[in-house]
């Protein structure tokens, strides 16, 4: 029937499971040991891998040794090393041993907890751990299972956005009296809001022309102005649209800006729009009492999400979503096919998380977040956030000391937005865009660090996002030295021309 008999083909035999898994643990530990030796951004050319791998699958089994050799020779060179201490791009995805252990248990048990009965522990631990996380953030009890709300773990902010947008949409369509009103629904966010909300709104069928990008400026530090929102909403109402959804952000992707959620909450309430708070990046920081004020006003929102897989030492993927009225989520997303019917669900005494998310299937992500929190404890989690912020402050101070540079936006968390000041006439023409983009390219192509950029208020800024687990202050010092060295070389070339 095949090349091996059932007796010799044992794909989950505990002995070989143990041996092979431990070999891979050693492989990964070696990778971490050596991670600083690799160029942070991969230097491969498009198409590099197809030249190195066969065009089709092998007929016979291959050894783990051969596979790991290929991982080492073919895959590692094509990685951009997110776990490198010299990774300062985008927002970090900071792994930890605890997060890894949680992923191992999740994958090892490999249960599919779509409803309570299919693995009660998967459902109940998730409900407990989202409450733990909510309490760490001092969310009002209206968002907790211990109160009148509840939470769920998704894979991404976009998934959370799709689900709350669908919940808000279906509530509105019910009130408006029919699906034909879908083209009247309008969604509001700032021009700094993560593009995932535009994508999510379009996904759930809101016409893209009904998505309002509220303009932000330097004057508010790129925070969304409640007055501008109000005026956009009023205009839309005059044109016959219905304000459905407003998204506020704590720590925007381009510059780490914070929208004033208390004031935005009042506007949203006045117009009966759903207020969602996207705290994907900076939510983690709000476990520290001195930073919690950024969430003031959260009680006025309908839902809030944040990503432990960014800054909370939780390996990919993990997004917490809390919602005040979970029944709005389940009204929109629930289904009850015969083949999933069971007594526990019938009693309505249990949570069936399939009705809180897009998919039926789901991984046991709660284990990971639970282990991350327990293995570190609030004390070390706060320490971790604070030391990243301290390093960012340190970098900011280094930038400020060098007159050729400027801090473009005030730093709030561990993201520093800076640039070389445009001085020469050629630079003033494009407000330093080319100069600074060349600087980023020079830094990244050195392989010694990886950074990314943004544009806010028309200004091109270099983003230094500190938060990789392995980053220590000497890495930040080395980064600054590298930035200065590359800037010097650019400016010299420039003045020679």
């Amino acid at each position: 029937m095949g090349s091996e008999s059932r007796e010799s083909f044992l794909p989950l035999d505990p002995v070989s499971f143990t041996n092979e898994s431990k070999a891979v643990v050693d492989f990964i530990a070696d990778y971490y040991e050596n991670i600083e030796k690799y160029p942070v951004q991969s230097t491969v050319e498009p198409g590099y891998l197809s030249a190195r791998l066969p065009e089709s699958a092998p007929y016979c089994p291959e050894s783990l040794e051969d596979i790991l050799k290929d991982v080492n020779d073919c895959i590692v060179p094509g990685l951009t090393h997110w776990q490198s201490p010299n990774f300062f791009a985008y927002f970090q995805a900071n792994a930890s041993t605890a997060g890894f252990l949680g992923e191992m248990l999740c994958s090892g048990f490999n249960v599919v907890g779509f409803n309570w009965i299919s693995s009660p522990a998967a459902t109940e631990l998730e409900s407990i751990v989202v409450d733990w996380m909510g309490k760490l953030l001092k969310l009002p009890s209206s968002f907790l299972f211990a109160g009148t709300g509840g939470g769920v773990l998704h894979g991404s902010t976009c998934e959370a956005a799709v689900c709350v947008l669908a919940a808000a949409r279906d509530k509105a369509l019910k009130e408006l009296g029919g699906w034909e009103h879908i083209t009247k629904l309008a969604v509001y966010a700032s021009d700094q809001t993560h593009f995932t909300f535009q994508k999510a709104a379009k996904l759930v069928g809101i016409p893209p022309s009904n998505f309002r990008l509220i303009k932000t400026t330097f004057s508010t530090g790129f925070a969304m102005s409640p007055e501008t929102v109000r005026s956009a909403v009023e205009d839309d109402i005059k044109s016959g649209l219905v304000p459905l959804f407003l998204c506020a952000t704590i720590g925007t992707t381009p510059t780490g800006a914070v929208d004033p959620i208390a004031e935005l909450g009042k506007v949203a309430m006045e117009f009966k729009a759903w207020l969602h708070i996207d705290a994907a990046y900076a939510g983690s920081a709000c476990i520290c009492p001195e930073l919690r004020h950024h969430l003031d006003g959260v009680e006025l929102s309908n839902s809030i999400s944040m990503n432990p897989h960014k800054w909370f030492l939780t390996n990919m993927d993990c997004c917490c979503l809390w919602i005040k009225e979970p029944h709005l989520l389940t009204d929109s997303l629930s289904s009850d096919p015969e083949y999933l019917k069971n007594n526990a669900s019938k009693t309505k005494s249990v949570v069936d998380y399939k009705d809180w998310q897009i998919a039926l299937s789901r991984r046991f992500r709660a284990l990971k977040l639970w282990i991350v929190i327990r293995r570190h404890g609030l004390a070390n989690l706060m320490y971790h956030i604070r030391s990243d912020i301290a390093m960012a402050k340190h970098f900011e101070a280094l930038v400020r000391k060098d007159g050729r540079f400027e801090i473009v936006m005030p730093r709030k968390f561990s993201l520093v937005c800076f640039r070389l000041k445009p001085t020469a006439a050629a630079e003033a023409e494009d407000d330093g865009r080319e100069l600074n983009s060349k600087l980023v390219e020079a830094i990244n192509s050195s392989g010694r660090a990886f950074m990314s950029h943004a544009v806010a208020g028309g200004v091109y800024v270099i983003r230094c996002a500190i938060g990789s687990t392995l980053t220590q202050q000497h890495h930040v010092d080395a980064l600054w030295k590298l930035v200065q060295e590359k800037a010097q070389s650019l400016l010299t070339n420039h003045s020679i021309k």
Copy 2:
């Protein structure tokens, strides 16, 4: 600043990473060794876990030993053991050592390959491995990167469904001339199609009243009739609707039925509707030449998806989606925010998978599928499918030999649908529903096996889904003995009453 200094707080230190990870490997190996000792379906009561765990997160770090003790004492009893050889419910989620190793590498590297530059290997390996998989299934080159199409790894069929529905929707709205036509779009599937397609259609804004559930019957083995689809489409066109999307299934969830895709493809083409093939469960089986005919006609479809995380020894989560015209997917889902702009993307010579899926962030799932395929080889993967089917045939034969039972639907893959024949007057009244549901309950509450049920054509059937990695023939024999024992006891009690 915290309870520990940066020097002593090292959440990704290679030495403790190694030690703690190996302890968890041993824990999971022990779990597999002992898995048959646990009741397959958890016996806990709703709310069991909140009584055992603290209400809020700890302030100080806890030891791995304490955490693993709690996993053992509090979590394991609340698991329904999907990896048990006595798990015969739903469809299996069959884990393997190879799949686990792939998950470890994915989590260890923890790269976020949303676009090519953010980790070229993550993108390129994914493109290569979906082509490998497509070739194993003998998909036409119109679905492969090596041809004119392409593929992507999603987390679930529902995600794939949302994405292809959005692509089809946006193409249609463009042709129809505006978003207001969204309420005219109609979607077709059979009453056996997984509910996830109804959910996905509603998610993307198709009015639920425009979702047509085509009735199936015993006469076609619960396959969708092309004539019935045609007649539904024609009726809708008469009412001013636009046929958007038809979903055909290879191996339906209730009974494993197979829709006639070649004939359905002709209907879809005639009315310019998008044909999607959901081969979530049975797609894996089509790597065997003797089963490949179920995919005959696939060339007429626009997209096809299947889940290696069901029957292909690939740990959760992994869903392959192939599409003939990838530009329709990216037209609908792409975005180009300034903070992700880069030279590689600008040249359009690379794939940016963020534009092929819902979320921005994504895990490096390709490693897992790649290692599963290489570590087993096509030979053993076919052996694995065939031995599961052989065990299902064996179970089917056992059922046929016992005159009290009947096979309700012809078996096509490794799912056997059977029931106790209703004989007594009381049983005939509900066509044996109560009797058979009591039998399932008796089996499941014994803890010795876990099965689920479905209803097709009004008939309640017990589903015996064979495919857990650890299942061997003696487990199937024991299951049948258990079924007979519980049936005997039910029938005796019944006749006493």
